[in-house]
Symmetry: C2
Subunit: 370 residues, 2 copies
């Protein structure tokens, strides 16, 4: 039985890219590189007939699962997936809203699915906008590593599948904005000090002026929550992948620098207020009995800042990252084994947060007995 | 050396009436009976010459200290008291704002002072509005006991001092509203459920209609903080002390009953919200790094409600009562041994709250190691 069907798997572990490790992980949560690919000999997804879509999915799935692209690799077909599993995969950033829409009544087109490894470091969506959408995720500020991972996955897939490619253009994609490299590289970056010191608008404006896109935690169109921003490259034509990655890397390093300077100023001028904010957030998470998802994300932002500032006694980044994922609605429902309305979810969410913080405290905290 | 001069005394202990014991102490914090008396042969305070005021103070002081009215008894003269000590005494409800005004530049009239016992159960202000203002304080709903204590103190003083008394009127006092019994009985009552369920205005209106007065935590003109209300009798003429005490007792019992019914309804209909509110208050107190006095009082109100509702793991009422007193400005300054501005007080206040809650937790809490 593939491990994806173990109901406990997704609610006790998160992807390796959320372990809170890697360089500058106190500011940069993670880096992601996504590649769009289409397979020669099949029409683009929009014009792909159901039969062909299924055939392509089977071919790709077999390649992916056999290649162990990321350790033991599993396949989840969207036709078979329950609404909760679809949302679960979205909450883990393994599939897009397009592949797994909110509304369970929206019929799922045949041949759609996702393959991913046990570490969730590599994932490949099949028959989303393009035939293949491969993503590589790394913890911390490791953009080059994420690119190397994606490239390796791309090469491995390329051994078994011939990709649509034109000498003049590069990779051919369903949407013209992806033609060329088919690559989007992005970083998930935590900028609480720039937000608190009201410099964020200025900084984001300058990011957009150099051609990068800024989004919230959950991608295009999502609100900014928990002071978490996604920066990504926009252009796929006229630059090599290397150039795009290096450009994003450079800008990220600059913003990281601004953020760290803003943190230093805050520590110098308002240490008490910051400590108070951080520790009260911890107090609410540690003792609250009902909590909305968005509130957890915002309180975790304060905790993350506290850890970055070196406040002793807070949970490690890995716990904070876990909470962001494990407290999402589908994760709570998967854990409970049934559908839950919001008020019930809020109670179970608070229970889960308390349990994780108590465990972290007993393992590493100053009052620990672990 | 009298113990009052020990700088640690006032910052490590509170009066016995704050021990959180006694009947219905989950609703009624304390009961107080105050008697106004004037000594035959001296003009009322307003017309009392300085020389005479000093003479009277000396006489009364000697009687009080010798009689051990409440265990070891000490005298604090307002002329000698520093501004911090004056405020400290006010914060402990041992003197009034009139006896110890805020503004240190206001010259203190001679012969003013206060005597109180080591338990702070009995205290006598001298040359406030009347020559003597005796108060007896009891923990919990023990109005009859407070009256008995006051009466005993009154009798003991009456053995050495002759009080101004007229057969037709009763005790003569500076202000006509006190003539007769000279007594004011009051209860300090915690009514969070009536406030949360928005029934409080109706209840207080009915209290005032039966001739009782309603005030905030710090007496006349003070705001209601922490859902703590002082109810007291208004009339001193035409009723015996016994009748006044019984009437206040009856009304208090009625309100206590309303409050308990409101708590039952809240527990039935909104247990999660109440638990969340209580535990988040605990989280803020347990981890905050800067806290205004008013906020501590309000957060302690939630804790007090949680204890009353039987939530396990909260600090005992005695700790909550202690915090109300020990976190006041003069107590913090006495503890620090110097004057402190508000921002510094807020930090030390949060430190003190954390220390008390950690101690309570290690002694009695579920995660205790005590």
């Amino acid at each position: 039985m593939p491990y994806s069907l173990d109901p406990k798997r997704f609610v006790q572990h998160v992807g390796a890219w959320l372990q809170g490790a890697g360089p500058d992980s106190d500011v940069v949560v993670s880096c992601r590189v996504r590649l769009a690919r289409n397979v020669e000999g099949y029409p683009f997804v929009l014009r792909l007939e159901d039969e062909k879509a299924r055939e392509l999915a089977t071919r790709v799935r077999d390649v992916l699962v056999e290649q162990h692209i990321d350790g033991e690799t599993i396949w989840v077909g969207m036709e078979e997936a329950t609404p909760i599993v679809k949302l679960l995969l979205r909450e883990r950033y393994l599939v897009s809203r397009d592949l797994a829409p909110n509304d369970p009544r929206l019929a799922t087109r045949p041949g759609r699915g996702v393959a991913f490894g046990e570490n969730e470091t590599l994932a490949v969506m099949v028959n989303e906008e393009d035939h293949l959408r491969l993503q590589a995720l790394c913890s911390g500020f490791q953009l080059a590593e994420a690119w190397a991972l994606a490239e390796r996955g791309d090469d491995e897939l390329g051994e078994s599948l011939e990709f649509a490619f034109a000498e003049e253009m590069g990779y051919l994609t369903a949407c013209p904005t992806n033609v060329g490299t088919g690559m989007r590289a992005s970083v998930l970056i935590h900028l609480p000090a720039l937000v608190l010191t009201k410099q964020i608008d200025k900084v984001l404006k300058s990011v957009m002026q150099v051609g990068l896109a800024v989004r919230g935690l959950y991608g295009e169109g999502s609100d900014v929550m928990g002071n978490l921003f996604q920066l990504s490259n926009q252009t796929t034509l006229g630059h090599s992948e290397q150039e795009s990655v290096e450009s994003l890397d450079r800008v990220t390093r600059q913003i990281l620098d601004y953020e760290e300077r803003a943190r230093d100023v805050m520590l110098r001028d308002a240490k008490t207020q910051i400590a108070d904010k951080v520790w009260r957030a911890y107090g609410s998470l540690r003792y609250g009995r009902s909590m909305a998802s968005q509130e957890v994300i915002n309180l975790c932002s304060a905790l993350r800042l506290g850890v970055a500032l070196g406040f002793a006694g807070l949970p490690p980044l890995s716990t904070i990252n876990q909470l962001l994922v494990l407290t999402q609605p589908a994760h709570l429902m998967r854990n409970a084994g049934r559908a839950l309305e919001a008020p019930e979810r809020n109670v179970l969410r608070a229970d889960l947060v308390r349990a994780h913080l108590e465990r972290a405290n007993s393992e590493t905290g100053p009052g620990g007995r672990g």
